[in-house]
């Protein structure tokens, strides 16, 4: 199978088009990733080459929406890295949420919704769901729509269940979803307390007073400039002492970042916003 390969000049032209036509600035996305995503669309939609892509995206707003959706990478599974979810279930959630009301948890890119539903299921099991408020942002309206419907690929049921069993000694996920052929649907009452926000790449409006940000394996698709910008937005959204959790091979490391955050759990990449 031979893939179409996008040149650097073509990639820059595409980035410029997206900026000029839709005011989305992708230049600080990680180049390898961005190229690969565009190549995939060019092949799957039979667009032949970069010009085909550019012409279609200028002509069709709907196609731009599909592109935005494809830039938001799905989480690989529910409860990815079960050891992190055990820390949340056994330490952070009971200790911090038990006596709170409106404990705000923010998902800056909700992607496939799996981080949101994973969080909601654990809180439901702990009987703490009523104490939290979720905020879920995404670049893509289609992503938000699918998350609101709770839709996911039934092929993932097995891996999701295996992870669940690494966190809970009893039961399985079946009480939380229904299957219809190749598709499955989460019980959307889990996320009825969620505010969805459509975002551009630059967060002009972001939530404040957040106690926990779950932002794992999304900033890996950015270069370091955008990583720093997003991390500072997370910092500004968080209350002092609030948590920021990133993917387990991500590191927060910009100039003076140790004045902003303390790494409190290296294994699970849990950072805490400093008090002042």
């Amino acid at each position: 199978m031979n893939r179409y390969e996008l040149g650097i000049v073509d990639t820059r032209n595409i980035i410029k088009t997206l900026q000029d036509v839709y005011n989305y600035d992708f230049k600080n996305y990680a180049l390898t990733f961005f190229k690969r995503r565009v190549e995939k669309i060019i092949i799957s939609k039979n667009l032949k080459d970069a010009d085909g892509f550019i012409n279609k995206i200028i002509a069709e707003k709907d196609f731009f929406e599909i592109f935005l959706q494809s830039i938001c990478v799905e989480t690989t599974e529910m409860f990815r890295d079960p050891s992190l979810w055990r820390v949340l279930k056994e330490e952070i959630f009971p200790n911090k949420i038990q006596d709170s009301i409106n404990f705000k948890i923010w998902f800056p890119e909700v992607a496939s919704g799996e981080e949101l539903y994973s969080t909601a299921i654990i809180l439901k099991k702990l009987n703490l769901l009523k104490n939290v408020k979720f905020i879920a942002s995404s670049l893509s309206d289609l992503v938000i729509e699918n998350t609101q419907k709770g839709i996911f690929d039934a092929k993932k049921i097995e891996v999701n269940d295996a992870n669940y069993k690494r966190i809970f000694s009893e039961g399985d996920l079946s009480e939380f979803f229904t299957q219809e052929g190749e598709k499955a649907f989460w019980d959307t009452s889990l996320i009825e307390n969620t505010k969805f926000i459509k975002q551009n790449i630059i967060f002009d409006d972001y939530p404040k007073g957040v106690k926990l940000v779950l932002f794992r394996n999304q900033m890996i698709y950015f270069n370091q400039i955008l990583q720093e910008r997003y991390t500072k937005i997370n910092y500004n959204g968080l209350v002092p002492g609030g948590y920021l959790i990133v993917g387990n091979n991500e590191i927060i490391d910009y100039w003076n970042s140790d004045k902003d955050f303390t790494l409190i759990n290296k294994e699970e990449s849990i950072y805490k916003k400093k008090l002042s």
Partner: protein, 185 residues
Amino acid sequence: MYKAVVIGGSAGSFQVITKILNSLPINFPLPVLLSLHRLKHVRSGFVEALSIKSSIPIVEPYDKENIKPGKGYLAPANYHMYIELNKRIALSTEEPVNHSRPSIDLTFETAAQAYRDKLIGIILSGANRDGANGLKKLKQAGGLAIVQDPNECQVKTMTEASLNLTSVDHIFTTEQIIKFLLNLK
């Protein structure tokens, strides 16, 4: 003249990999990029096992970590490992390729884009076709393609798939691979 070595294999090639890594001197002049199939939910243990007798440090890199000579970079569990044009690691959780994440193809392909003809690619024993396309891209970009001698491999699928797709520069036994690497300057 070479700037990096990229190695692909599966968990079954663990012994060959450790043999190669253990024979490299501490001042080995190139970075070693390792994309090896592994269990996705077992995060720890692998890099530690590879490090035990290796003179060069082996790490599971952080996203956007700078690639340095004399150091081994192992693709972390359940991530693809890309090489950016600016010689940094980029991790990805995109869909598996050839049922694999990490995918050897993707590491080889992106390394070939970053290092062009300054790259050495080595495919070791493994149980699926992953790596064959990546090695082809590497060769097309001017890199040097090496495949482990299939006669030496318990599972030949990966090496034979690579040999079918690319006319490689060398078919080497483990000992020959080591000798070749030790002669690099």
